[in-house]
C-alpha cells in the first residue's frame, strides 16, 4: 500500500510542477483533456479491470452529464452546479435501473447490451433537436459556482488536477476496501465470491452505477470547459476510446489508466501530422499495442522491471 501512496505523491508533485513546463494555453488544454480522460478511465477501470465487467456504452453516461449541463443551464436557467448534480443523479438512476437485467449477461452478450444502451442514448441526443441542437450540437455556458466563474485553460487546470488526485486517491482506497476486495473476488469467480458471501448482483450494480456517475460528472465539467457539446461525445467511438485507454494502460492498474488516458489523448494531436491518414495510423497503433503488450502498458513495464502488480 505504501507504494500506491508513493505513486499518489509523485502524481501530486508532477501536477504541481507541470504548469511551469507548459509553454502556452494549447498545452494546458491538452493537459486538461488528459486529466478529464484519466478520471473517466479510472472510473471505467473499476468496472472493467477490477470487477471484470465490460461496458461498451460508457460514453452514453458521459453524454447524459454533458447534455444535462448544457440543456438545464441553457433552456431552464439552472445553475451549473445544480445541473451537474442532476446529471449525475440521472446517470446513476439510469445505471442502477438497467443494471439488474444487464448484469445477468456475460461476455459478448454484456458487451452487446451496454453497446446498445450507449447507441440509444447517442441517438436520443441527436434526435431531440429542439432541446439538444441535434447533430450540430449546442454551446454550453461557462461554469460558475458561488459567484466565481472558472475561466480559461489555466484555471480549469487546477480544477481537473484536483479532481484527478481525488479520483486516484478514492480509487486506491476503494480497491483495498472490503467492497473492492469483493469486486476482485467476483472478477475471479462469481460462484466462489457468492459462496463466500459477496452479494454479486448488488455489487456489480453498485460499481456500474458508481462509474456511470463518474462519467456523467466528467461529462458535465468537460461540456462547460469546452463550451460546446455534440452527440459525438456519447457515440460508440467515444465509448471505445475510453475502453481503449483502460486496456492500453493496463486493466486493474490505477496508474496504468492515467498513462493510457494521457497516451490516447496525445496520440490524435501528434497524428495530425499524417494529414488524412490519422484514422489509419490510429487503428494501426491500437492493434500494435494490443498485440505487442496484451496486458497493457503499466503491467507490462512493471513485469519488465521484475516487480509484480
Amino acid at each position: 500500500m505504501t507504494r500506491a501512496n508513493f505513486g499518489l505523491l509523485i502524481l501530486v508533485a508532477m501536477l504541481l510542477a507541470l504548469p511551469l513546463a507548459l509553454p502556452n494555453t494549447y498545452y494546458f488544454d491538452i493537459a486538461n483533456r488528459m486529466a478529464i480522460n484519466a478520471v473517466l478511465a479510472l472510473g471505467l477501470n473499476l468496472l472493467i479491470g477490477f470487477a471484470g465487467q465490460i461496458s461498451l456504452g460508457h460514453a452514453g453516461f458521459f453524454g447524459v452529464g454533458a447534455y444535462a449541463s448544457a440543456v438545464l443551464t441553457t433552456h431552464f436557467g439552472w445553475t451549473p452546479i445544480a445541473a451537474l448534480l442532476a446529471g449525475g443523479l440521472l446517470a446513476g438512476l439510469l445505471a442502477a435501473a438497467i443494471a439488474p437485467p444487464i448484469f445477468r449477461l456475460r461476455g459478448h452478450y454484456l458487451a452487446m447490451a451496454t453497446l446498445g444502451l450507449g447507441v440509444i442514448l447517442a441517438i436520443v441526443f441527436k434526435n431531440e433537436a429542439q432541446l439538444t441542437g441535434g447533430p450540430d450540437g449546442m454551446s454550453v455556458p461557462p461554469f460558475s459556482m458561488f459567484g466565481f466563474e472558472i475561466y480559461g485553460e489555466r484555471q480549469w487546470y487546477w480544477v481537473f488536477a484536483a479532481l484527478l488526485v481525488f479520483s486516484v486517491w478514492a480509487s486506491l482506497n476503494l480497491i483495498d476496501s472490503p467492497f473492492g476486495r469483493a469486486l476482485r473476488a467476483l472478477h475471479g469467480s462469481e460462484v466462489a465470491a457468492q459462496t463466500a458471501g459477496v452479494p454479486v448482483a448488488r455489487y456489480k450494480a453498485a460499481i456500474f452505477t458508481l462509474s456511470a456517475v463518474f462519467a456523467s460528472v466528467m461529462g458535465s465539467l468537460s461540456a462547460h470547459y469546452i463550451g460546446f457539446v455534440s452527440p459525438n461525445v456519447a457515440d460508440f467511438f467515444h465509448s471505445i476510446e475510453l475502453v481503449t485507454m483502460v486496456v492500453v494502460g493496463g486493466m486493474a492498474s490505477v496508474f496504468g489508466s492515467l498513462v493510457g488516458a494521457a497516451l490516447l489523448t496525445a496520440l490524435p494531436q501528434t497524428l495530425v501530422a499524417f494529414q488524412g491518414w490519422e484514422t489509419v495510423v490510429f487503428g494501426g497503433v491500437l492493434m500494435g499495442f494490443m498485440i505487442l503488450l496484451p496486458r497493457g502498458l503499466a503491467p507490462s513495464i512493471a513485469a519488465m522491471l521484475g516487480r509484480s502488480r
Binding site: 459478448h108 447507441v119 440509444i120 492493434m287
Partner: protein, 291 residues
C-alpha cells in the same frame, strides 16, 4: 392499410437479408475463434466500394463483383494472419479492440483513397418497380433476397457435405479435440475469416444499388449485424438468418409506424428487450456453467 404494411415488410426483409449476411459473418468467426469481429461491417463496405472502383476501371459487372468479393476475402485473411493470430491468447476486450483497430485502418484507408462521398452503381436488372398488391418492390430487392437465400443454401451445403465444412464445425465445437483428430485449426480460422469477409462483401454488393455505399456505411451495418447475431444467439446459423430478418422487419415497421428518426435505435432497443428475457438470444445454446 395492407398495402402500407406490405411496403414496410418489403423494405424490412430486404435490409434484413443484408443484416442476416452480416450476422452469419459474425457467427462464422465467433464459432471458429470466439472472437467478435467488429471489422465485419467494413467487409460489407469493401464489397460495395470495391465494386464501384472495379466498374470504374472498366471491368464488366460480374467480374467486378467477383474481384471485389475476392479482394474482401483476402483482406479478411490478412486481418486473421496479422492481427488475430498473434493475439490468440488475449482476453475478450483486447480482441475487441484489435478488431476495432482493424476496422479503423480499413475505413481510414478507404476514406483517403476513395473519398468521403456516397457512390453507387446501377441495379442489376433495372429500376422499374414491380407492383405486388399495391406495394412496390424494386427488382434489386429480389436480387438481395435471392442472393442471400443462395448464400445461406450454399453455406448449409458446405457445412453438411464437405470435409472442410465439417472441420470448421468440429473446431467450433471443441478446438482441442479437433486438433487431436488431425484438423488444422489455424487453416480453419483462416478459411472462416475469408468466408465471412466474402459473405459480408457480397451483402454489400447486393445492397449498394438500393442503399448506396461510402467509406462509413460499415459502422451501422456492422453494429446491426452484431445485434442480429445476438438476437438469434451467438454462433447459431439459423439464429443469424432469423435474427437478421427480424431486426430488418422490426426496424422498417418502427420507421413506418412510429418514428423514422428513431429507426436506428430500434434494433438496439430490441436487443436489450430480448436479452432481458432470453440472456442467450433466441437460438443460443443452453449452457450450464461449470465451476
Amino acid at each position: 392499410m395492407l398495402t402500407q404494411f406490405l411496403q414496410f415488410l418489403f423494405s424490412g426483409v430486404t435490409v434484413g437479408a443484408a443484416y442476416a449476411l452480416a450476422a452469419l459473418g459474425f457467427a462464422l468467426i465467433y464459432n471458429a475463434s470466439n472472437v467478435i469481429n467488429f471489422a465485419q461491417g467494413e467487409f460489407i463496405m469493401l464489397g460495395g466500394v470495391l465494386t464501384v472502383v472495379f466498374l470504374k476501371a472498366g471491368l464488366p459487372t460480374p467480374l467486378a463483383i467477383c474481384a471485389a468479393v475476392l479482394a474482401a476475402a483476402i483482406v479478411g485473411m490478412l486481418i486473421e494472419r496479422l492481427a488475430i493470430e498473434p493475439a490468440r491468447d488475449s482476453d475478450v476486450v483486447s480482441l475487441i479492440i484489435i478488431t476495432i483497430g482493424a476496422s479503423l485502418v480499413l475505413r481510414g484507408a478507404v476514406q483517403v483513397w476513395f473519398g468521403k462521398g456516397p457512390a453507387t452503381f446501377p441495379a442489376f436488372s433495372g429500376d422499374a418497380p414491380i407492383t405486388v398488391a399495391g406495394a412496390t418492390l424494386l427488382p434489386q430487392s429480389l436480387w438481395v433476397l435471392g442472393g442471400a437465400s443462395l448464400i445461406v443454401l450454399a453455406l448449409w451445403l458446405f457445412f453438411a457435405f464437405t470435409i472442410l465444412g465439417k472441420a470448421i464445425l468440429a473446431t467450433a465445437y471443441n478446438p482441442l479435440a479437433a486438433r487431436l483428430v488431425g484438423i488444422d485449426t489455424q487453416w480453419v480460422l483462416l478459411v472462416s475469416f475469408a468466408l465471412s469477409a466474402a459473405i459480408g462483401a457480397l451483402g454489400g454488393v447486393l445492397l449498394t444499388p438500393i442503399a448506396f455505399t461510402s467509406y462509413d456505411v460499415g459502422v451501422m451495418l456492422g453494429l446491426k449485424g452484431f445485434v442480429a447475431a445476438v438476437v438469434g444467439g451467438l454462433g447459431s446459423g439459423v439464429g443469424a438468418v432469423v435474427g437478421g430478418l427480424l431486426v430488418g422487419v422490426i426496424e422498417a415497421m418502427s420507421a413506418g409506424y412510429i418514428s423514422s428518426a428513431y429507426k436506428d435505435a430500434t434494433p438496439f432497443l430490441l436487443i436489450l428487450l430480448i436479452l432481458f428475457f432470453l440472456p442467450r438470444g433466441l437460438f443460443g445454446a443452453k449452457v450450464t456453467e461449470r465451476v
